[in-house]
Amino acid sequence: MRMLAVFEKGERIRHIGHLDIQRSVQRGLRRSGLPVAYSNGFNPHILVTFASALSTGACGKREIMDVTMEEDVSEQEFMEKMNRAMPPEMQLSEARAVDRKHSSLPPMLRAARYDLLIREEKYAARLIDAIPSMMARETIPAMRKTKTALKECDIKPLIFELNGEGKHLYATLVLTERESCKPGMLMEALCREANITEEVRVLITREALLGENEEGKLVPLETL
């Protein structure tokens, strides 16, 4: 059996990188006493994977871990034991037991929904006002960081949805194993559209990870 569990990466620990989140989950699983499966070898580790790595600096509302169990347990038991074992900033909100053969999550990932809180209020309205004109453009160039260089790309086809209200921008952006639009790339393009040259600080929260159901609709990945 595998357990797909939805967990939070809270604001206080948003600067923790993905590797450290992985290790914290490993240790949380060890503390929980749940019958998890281990890898073989000299440094055995628990068989747990993540649907997607979340960047350093971003909060996550519904991140997903995928834990292989040695023995079956109920979803409720998993939740209870894990929530006792995880720090307050990394609590679970849901767990779903699936078959060991359930397809792995990263290839099913299509998009992510973000809430971008604009720290400098004075820019919020200007940014929101710039959305329609930006989206009306044929192409929206942005710089993509690769391991070695910056590369220009067009993010227009990577934006599923973009709107704003008050101090918030809400965006659904492509996120797959092959390509993605990072919130930073979106902000860069939007600032240019709004003629803002100063750096605009945003608090990024990844609200949900999305996959595609049979009808081609974007739905939460953990439900697929």
Binding site: I13, H15, D20, Q26, R27, G57, A85
Partner: protein
């Protein structure tokens, strides 16, 4: 903009932000207003070092356990954070509730090494607390300190209000009660300090007056009020089984230096190596029982989820039921995939069997500390280890599948000659030969012998407390020689820069006057001196010059028998007379037996019921 928002902004720009954000598993954020006493635990180095420190975990748990006190942590920020804090006008904030240091009733520093002293000044200043005790007012926290370096408190006498000498577990709570009493009854700072001086094991430097001879040596140290004792006795916890030990450790998100369960199996050491300060300060030897340790290990494993347990003590091989302990721990931890490591495994511990068991789980590199290259030199320092011992253990290890061995030595020990340095190379060569003696199919691939030499620093409360340290010039020459003779295939040589060790020697045996140098150096920008990239030796030398003090007076001068040493009014339990006796034996290349095999009369036998091996009346 409020404090929290400015802090958040600094976090966005700083490198390694998780050092500053807290919220780790098993940390405690108690309600501020419900706890009358607020203790700020300060580790004067970075988060990664501080969170590796066992003492922090013990005292953190101990203070938070009391309903009336809370403990929050402070660490030394790195230079980039310090700059950002200036930019945002931020004070140093606690990890838990993000309050500034001066909001606490007590702030306590742990003194693990001399090179962290400038960080104490930096943290006080960033915490909004006047640097010097005499400038602190009624609303400022009481600043206390403890740990091994507190045994010579004099270099910090201007900055610390009260020192705790010896084991902290009991005195910590007593001290907090006295400070709580001040708060409740509205006592003055001075009254509170006098009350603290009445506690056994507490030293309040402002209540003593020091006079000097013309040559700079000390003429007298005298209490200036009846509350302060002429001699301050260290505190000793006699029964470790009934002493507080945490059942949970905070688990950092990021990797720290020692990121595992530390199980203190015993305290103290009976070997009597003459260079070793810890060996004297932590006397007598006290063991935790097997049952207690197994129980703690299981609880800690369940509460932390750590994948490794290390046994911690000065000399784990001497623990009386070590093989049973290791076997039992392995049996219970196997299911949980927890490995057991023995960090300070001594080469003369009878452990072949357990070694074989260790490898079931993980094969780390083995560490041996012969400390000196020749038998003569090892006799001078009373390191009871022979070459045959060492080679036998190394052979066992190579036969058992290890291929990586680390050898630790000291250079600059009293009476050291070129022959002793060459002895280090000889020993390394013999270790390499042992590896090649194991038939090829049986041995693991990739031989790695690492030889590390540190520069000897004479420490207070050791038989070498009177000795001169080698000058920097001499050290450099010796290192050059070592580099040449250690150019051996399969051997990597590491050495320590002599500059830090020189400064360490100054502060280890410093007196009150050297506090001015510390302050001057700090004002000139010296901080984080334990780190290569921030250590500024030239500035330290400037500071000595400006204060009119000669560092060689502290580091390179041999003391006479009758000199009053700056720490003589601190009673470590071991007498000065015993230490001198040991020094004389060392001069004659005579060894002293392990005192488990018979009491050597170090002085602790005077304290009734403290040392289980003591034999009153001897020597």
């Amino acid at each position: 903009m409020d404090l929290n928002e400015r802090f958040e902004r600094a976090l966005e720009k700083v490198q390694k932000a998780p050092r500053y954000t807290g919220g780790e598993m098993n940390t405690t954020v108690k309600e501020w207003d419900r706890c009358p006493l607020h203790f700020g635990f300060c580790f004067p180095d970075t988060y990664e070092i501080g969170m590796s420190h066992l003492g922090l975990k013990i005292l953190y748990g101990l203070i938070n356990r009391e309903s009336w006190s809370l403990c929050e942590r402070f660490f030394m920020p790195w230079t980039d954070m310090i700059a950002l804090m200036k930019e945002e006008e931020l004070p140093l904030l606690s990890m838990e509730s993000r309050r500034p240091m001066n909001a606490f009733d007590v702030v306590g520093f742990t003194l693990q090494y001399e090179m962290s002293y400038s960080n104490i000044l930096a943290m006080l200043e960033m915490g909004g607390i006047p640097l010097e005790s005499r400038d602190r007012g009624e609303n400022d926290p009481i600043v206390v300190a403890g740990g091994p370096c507190a045994f010579n408190p004099e270099p910090l006498a201007d900055f610390i209000d009260a020192f705790m000498i010896g084991d902290g577990e009991d005195v910590m709570t007593e001290l907090n009660r006295v400070i709580l009493e001040r708060k409740e009854k509205g006592l003055s700072r001075e009254e509170c300090l006098k009350n603290l001086a009445k506690l056994e094991g507490v030293y309040v430097p402002s209540l003593y007056q020091v006079t000097y001879h013309e040559d700079g040596t000390i003429a007298s140290v005298k209490p200036t009020c009846p509350e302060a004792p002429a001699s301050v006795k260290k505190r000793v916890v006699t029964d470790l089984n009934h002493t507080y030990y945490p059942e949970e450790f905070p688990v950092p998100y990021t990797e720290v230096v020692f990121d595992r369960i530390m199980l203190e199996i015993m305290r103290g050491c009976t070997r009597g190596c003459r260079f070793c300060q810890a060996g004297i300060l932590y006397r007598p030897v006290r063991e935790r029982s097997l049952e207690k340790l197994i129980d703690l290990a299981e609880k800690l494993q369940a509460s932390t989820g750590y994948e490794e347990i290390s046994l911690s003590s000065l000399s784990s091989g001497d623990y009386s039921c070590l093989p049973e302990l290791i076997r039992e721990l392995m049996r219970r931890m196997k299911e949980k995939r927890v490995s057991i490591s023995l960090p300070s495994l001594r080469i003369d511990s009878v452990l072949k069997e357990s070694l074989e068991e260790t490898q079931q789980v993980r094969k780390t590199s083995l560490t041996f500390a012969p400390e000196a290259g020749t038998q003569r030199m090892r006799d001078v320092i009373n390191k009871g280890v022979t070459e045959e011992d060492l080679l036998e253990k190394v052979r066992d290890a190579f036969e058992g599948g290890w291929s990586s061995v680390k050898l630790y030595f000291m250079s600059g020990l009293p009476t050291e000659t070129t022959e002793d340095l060459d002895g280090i190379a000889d020993l390394a060569r013999k270790v390499v030969a042992e590896y090649f003696n194991v038939p090829k199919p049986q041995r693991a691939k990739g031989l790695r012998v690492t030889v590390s030499t540190s520069v000897f620093v004479p420490k207070p409360f050791t038989p070498f407390q009177w000795a001169a340290q080698d000058t920097i010039e001499t050290v450099l020459k010796k290192q050059e020689h070592l580099k040449q003779v250690l150019n051996i295939r399969g051997v990597t040589f590491h050495w320590h820069e002599p500059y830090v060790s020189f400064l360490e020697a100054c502060f280890a045996r410093g007196d009150r006057r050297i506090g001015a140098v510390l302050k001057k150096a700090y004002e000139m920008g010296c901080i984080l001196d334990g780190w290569n990239e921030t250590f500024r030796f030239d500035k330290w030398m400037d500071a000595f010059r400006e204060c009119g003090l000669d560092p060689a007076f502290y580091a390179n001068r041999e003391r006479t028998k009758d000199e009053l040493l700056p720490w003589d009014h601190i009673d470590s339990g071991v007498t000065k007379q015993f230490l001198w006796h040991e020094k004389e034996k060392s001069d004659r290349t005579e060894t002293t037996k392990d005192c488990r095999k018979g009491c050597n009369g170090c002085g602790l036998q005077r304290w009734k019921g403290v040392c289980a091996y003591a034999n009153a009346g001897s020597v």
